[in-house]
């Protein structure tokens, strides 16, 4: 469905690097399987599939995830035939090249400043992923990076869609990547007591005790709808709208009662031109931390009433990949639409009695008709919400 005066945005390619699978088929199968045991690293990622040896050595792991997922998304989208000056890259990350930074600080301490790599700066900078993608494809439109912690992936996609809606770009590569599982990153998240001490991700469960850190990347090709239709592209769905807000409350804790999340979801639905009753499914932020899940559940109940639309959090499987999470979940939404199946919230055994949500547990559920809402909330009080829908969706009483 169309918001008057605005160009429409199709999702025509997806790529994903996740601990539960690389590539959309492996990824989606992984979402519907038991949770992986042990650390949620992307153990089978081989940079040589995307880089020669020299390139790989000069790209931090987060940049490798950025490029790998973008290349998969572009291959999936097919021949775009886009003017490079009207093709953009909007990517997200939480912290950029943390592994390289940690390694080079060790070099500094052990061998002195003269041995610090001349490639340190272009490897750790948060925009390295977006820059590498634009260089690889020769795309010369806007190339920017969103750095809003765990909301980065979702907000990047919202910003990318706006570049198409407003006419600045005809195609945008968007998404997010994160590789923050260096010892320094894990120690820091552990010491702020954000991580699960049991090591199990249990979104919305009464026994949830923190998030399980992971890593990865995901990318989507967004394309102006008429162009995509004209070239006969495979269209996963449409980005109807998005919103970005701040809690202005606390650097790590969400606003009480999920007030920030609620405001952002409302704004995203308004931007998309849909009503709460049009929402069939929410791909939740659902990190498995006590505070986030409660705030998000309260916000969902206030917005939709109980039980509201079908909710899932894939973080029971994927863990929390920070700045990549929103992008991985947006790819999940695209695949949910394509396959008509909502993956379950793995790890959820007993819903927190304070929550009144219809959460998919056990096995996957069929996607009801309607639009999908994907939520991401980040340290810093950043909220990002994205509204996507099957291409044929029309709100029942918007037909006139």
């Amino acid at each position: 469905m169309a918001v008057p005066g605005r160009r429409r945005v199709a999702i025509t390619g997806v790529g994903v690097v996740s601990c539960c699978g690389i590539g959309s088929d492996a990824f989606f199968a992984g979402l519907c399987a038991p949770a992986p045991e042990g650390e949620h690293r992307v153990h089978d990622f081989d940079p040589s599939s995307w880089f020669d040896v020299k390139q790989a050595r000069r790209a931090d792991r987060f940049q490798q995830f950025s490029v790998a997922s973008a290349q998969m998304a572009l291959d999936d989208a097919g021949e775009l035939g886009v003017d490079p000056a009207r093709a953009g890259v909007i990517f997200g990350t939480g912290v950029g090249g943390l592994e390289t930074l940690q390694q080079q600080i060790t070099v500094l301490v052990e061998k002195g400043p003269r041995r610090v790599s001349p490639f340190l700066v272009p490897m750790i900078m948060g925009n390295a992923g977006a820059a590498a993608i634009s260089m690889r494809f020769g795309w010369r439109g806007p190339c920017e990076t969103v750095v809003t912690a765990c909301a980065a992936g979702t907000q990047a996609i919202g910003n990318a869609a706006r570049l198409i809606q407003t006419g600045r770009c005809d195609a945008v590569m968007t998404g997010g990547a994160e590789a923050a599982m260096a010892e320094i990153g894990i120690a820091a998240f552990t010491n702020m007591t954000a991580l699960s001490s049991s090591g199990v991700s249990r979104p919305f469960d009464r026994r949830r005790d923190g998030f399980v850190i992971s890593e990865g990347g995901a990318a989507l090709v967004l394309e102006e709808l008429d162009r995509a239709l004209e070239r006969g592209a495979h269209i996963y769905g449409e980005v109807l709208g998005s919103a970005s807000t701040a809690d202005a409350h606390h650097i790590t804790a969400p606003a009480p009662g999920g007030a920030g999340a609620l405001a952002c979801m409302e704004l995203a639905l308004e931007d998309a031109g849909v009503r709460t009753s049009d929402v069939a499914h929410v791909n939740a932020h659902g990190t498995s931390t006590p505070l986030n899940d409660l705030a998000e559940a309260e916000a969902l109940a206030k917005l939709f009433g109980a039980p509201g639309p079908v909710v899932t959090s894939i973080k029971g499987i994927t863990g929390h990949s920070l700045g990549a999470a929103g992008a991985i979940e947006a790819v999940c939404c695209a695949l949910t639409i394509e396959r008509g199946i909502i993956p379950p919230t793995v790890g959820l055994e007993e819903l927190d009695p304070e929550m009144h949500l219809d959460v998919v547990t056990g096995s996957p559920r069929q996607l009801p008709d309607g639009v999908l809402l994907s939520n991401s909330f980040g340290f810093g009080g950043h909220n990002g919400c994205l509204v996507v829908a099957p291409i044929g969706f029309t709100a029942p009483d918007a037909q006139a």
């Binding site: 020669d52 040896v53 020299k54 050595r57 003269r114 041995r115 790599s117 001349p118 490639f119 272009p122």
Partner: protein, 79 residues
């Protein structure tokens, strides 16, 4: 260390850092045209050479160093 042994050592550093086949490391080879090495890569190579030969090369000494031969001369002048 004789000149040949020194060049072998130099060559193995260059192969490792620049990721080019050993036969491309000739005295005449130009960093930019023949070895596709940009200025940061030359800096990285010099750092590897400093370690391998236990020498110190100042940044200013790299001015005008465009070929493998010039870089090798710079290294051997310090041995």
């Amino acid at each position: 260390m004789d000149n040949e042994a020194a060049f072998d050592k130099f060559k193995s550093c260059a192969v490792e850092v620049l990721q080019v086949p050993a036969e491309k490391i000739t005295l005449e080879a130009k960093f930019s045209d023949d070895l596709e090495a940009d200025s940061l890569e030359v800096v990285e190579l010099v750092m590897a050479l400093e370690e391998a030969f236990d020498i110190t090369v100042e940044e200013s000494e790299l001015d005008g160093v465009l070929t493998i031969g010039q870089a090798f001369d710079l290294v051997t002048s310090k041995l």
